[in-house]
Symmetry: C2
Subunit: 400 residues, 2 copies
């Protein structure tokens, strides 16, 4: 008998079989005979995740495959191809990072900047703020361009600031999930490129719900998440990098500070080399593949139009109820509706009643908007007028 | 009409509806009417992922919940509690990181060391080597203690080296997935603690398949993965940190270089504060919860005994076929059987036939063992004698 196995035997027979299972059995509200906590059906209208369509849930329950299985590699190739269409880009380096949207944010910073680099971050909400933190942890010199939360940036103001700072990278958020404001991106890249700066964009909440035109807008790198308008489960972060970003990556002098997020290695797994880096999250990729197929069958235009229609229906119902949008007029996101909480209404109580009595989740405010705003998400699968009607009915009863 | 929505309309109606869906439809081997690539049933006997039990797949198909939903938070509490039992620890800071096992490795390094710190890494395979890379990217002074691949370390040799190096942290791998060697950990922590060093252990492949006794062995921090002996899908990394590691984390002078993996923030989401950090991977946590319940119902002792029995059955069948274990005699892991490829056998051809004719995946060699060894995983759900029989039957036909 192996020495090792022998030692293991000593360890594992210390407890009697009767004893261990009892101690190990779940205690927190899980019955012994229950397979898992009973998961209620919610209508998820917060800042994400939203509900996933049946196709995605079905895919997530499929049998396991190895991460180098030819069938799985074919699925990954399909995911890349479909992500390119969704990002409206030809970028070779388009793939899904094995982490949530915030891992995608960190991926771009750790790969594209080096200690001492100057970066310009536009801040008008939580996610711009988060970028300054991530960039600072990469040892960069962070310059902030700040405007009040809910406002959007003028292209000229960003370019003026970039002229002063001379950053290697300028970053901003396309769809600020914390405020519901949508940032125009057209015309921004060219002047930044002339100044020697890359343009990096957070598309976590925009991708799949409104146009994200990486190539036409000349965005150098962007990241997203799977749980917003893609209507997949959270856990992956689609990223895309153009020629300028890839060149920058290849010419860096220092190693990428994160091994897990090092695109120089990860590209060789997603590429034809198939070098093992880390084990790909198999079921998350099944889910993403299915979510992208659902989008493909609907078509991008139809999908974006559906988001706008749901948003307009919601807005038309909310404003007469005294619920005012907190983001800049004219720049409201279709998929994230942030409205101020009326005087006298108790934030948590209203959201609690919506959840417990109607099975509807809406989001509270984040950061500066905590306790002051509600965030109503109409994302992907949930961007529908019948969903809006169900929410408005419930809201009317709760706010009455 | 919103200015923003107006601009969106211009963008999104550039293409006719007829055109976009066609262009967007999956092309890479996916039929237009297929929901997704057809996923074959494989018997996964490589280095992980292995097959997941039906309970896990069922859980992964459950409806979405919000990441702050009370029911989901209850599920997370259950996961923590069950992970503690699996790690055999009372550690408050026990949770699942939102990335694969390699993210867990990086989590411990970025949180526990600071630039300039001396670390001692024991290297006898791919994953020890990976730790040296991760540690170096944290700006540490890395000292390697190397022995041939497949060998295991003597406790005394590690302690002697630590006396010379005086590291703040000593790290090694419990179950080296690249070689199939199992490292004894008893008696190691105390002398290291006396020298002022923490002990960090990679338990990716061991957890759930053999005893991992964090408290009894006084391990300061450990990480694992979900796709090995837990028989869940890859995508989460269970970690546990004891008092010494938490104190070290709290007393660090510099910020953790990774925002995504910063435990000072993540602990406040898993703790009762429930501060939002990143969006938790909902379905991955459903899957992990179900996987831990399956383990709980079986009991740890029974599970470990099953792994040993499957291993012994396999070993008894392989050795007469001329397939020799590459790891040190007496220290063969039950869940990862690395055997040398006999002279004249073509690695890829044999694995290809097993996969294509028998639906069985086994793993190739990694690093120094590439082309020289096969890795046969008997992990979690697959650690069964009937599985071994199916593999041995197939192997006999292919090697005949």
């Amino acid at each position: 008998m192996d020495k090792y196995v022998e030692v293991l035997s000593t360890y594992s027979y210390e407890h009697s079989r009767r004893e261990v299972p009892r101690a190990f059995l779940p205690e927190v509200g899980l019955g012994r005979d229950t397979r898992m906590i009973s998961i209620p059906e919610r209508l998820l209208l917060g800042p994400g995740p939203g509900n996933a369509p049946p196709e995605v849930l079905e895919a997530m329950g499929k049998p396991m495959l190895g991460h180098l299985d030819p069938v799985f590699l074919q699925l990954m190739d399909g995911v890349r191809d479909k992500l390119r269409k969704l990002f409206q880009t030809q970028n070779e380096m388009t793939l899904a990072m094995s982490g949530t949207g915030s891992a995608g944010m960190e991926t771009l910073f750790v790969n594209l900047v080096e200690p001492g680099d100057k970066v310009l971050i536009c801040v008008n909400g939580v996610f711009g703020t988060r970028m300054t933190d991530v960039a600072a942890r990469c040892g960069t010199e962070v310059h902030k361009l700040e405007i009040p939360w809910g406002q959007v940036f003028e292209v000229d103001a960003i370019v003026e600031e970039a002229k002063k700072v001379k950053p290697v990278l300028t970053a901003l958020v396309h769809a600020e999930t914390s405020t519901g404001a949508g940032q125009l991106l057209e015309g921004l890249a060219q002047p930044l490129h002339e100044l020697g700066s890359m343009l990096v964009v957070d598309c976590v909440t925009s991708l799949g719900g409104m146009p994200v035109k990486i190539d036409e807008w000349e965005i150098d790198a962007a990241y997203s998440g799977t749980q917003k308008c893609l209507s997949c489960s959270p856990g992956l972060s689609p990223v895309t990098l153009g020629a300028r970003a890839v060149e920058r990556m290849e010419q860096r002098k220092s190693k990428v500070q994160s091994w897990y997020l090092d695109l120089n290695m990860i590209r060789n797994y997603w590429g034809q080399e198939r070098f093992y880096h880390h084990t790909a999250p198999i079921h998350m990729l099944y889910g993403l593949d299915a979510a992208l197929d659902v989008i493909g069958r609907e078509g991008l235009d139809a999908r974006f139009a559906r988001h706008r229609e749901a948003h307009e229906t919601l807005k038309a119902a909310l404003e007469p109820m005294g619920l005012q949008y907190v983001s800049q007029e004219g720049y409201h996101l279709p998929m994230l509706n942030a409205v101020s909480i009326p005087e006298g209404m108790e934030d948590a109580a209203v959201r609690g009643r919506l959840l417990n009595e109607f099975g509807i989740e809406i989001g509270g405010g984040l950061g500066a908007f905590k306790g002051k705003a509600w965030r109503i998400g109409l994302m992907g699968y949930n961007a529908r007028t019948d969903v809006v009607e169900r929410l408005v009915d419930a809201l009317k009863q709760v706010l009455a």
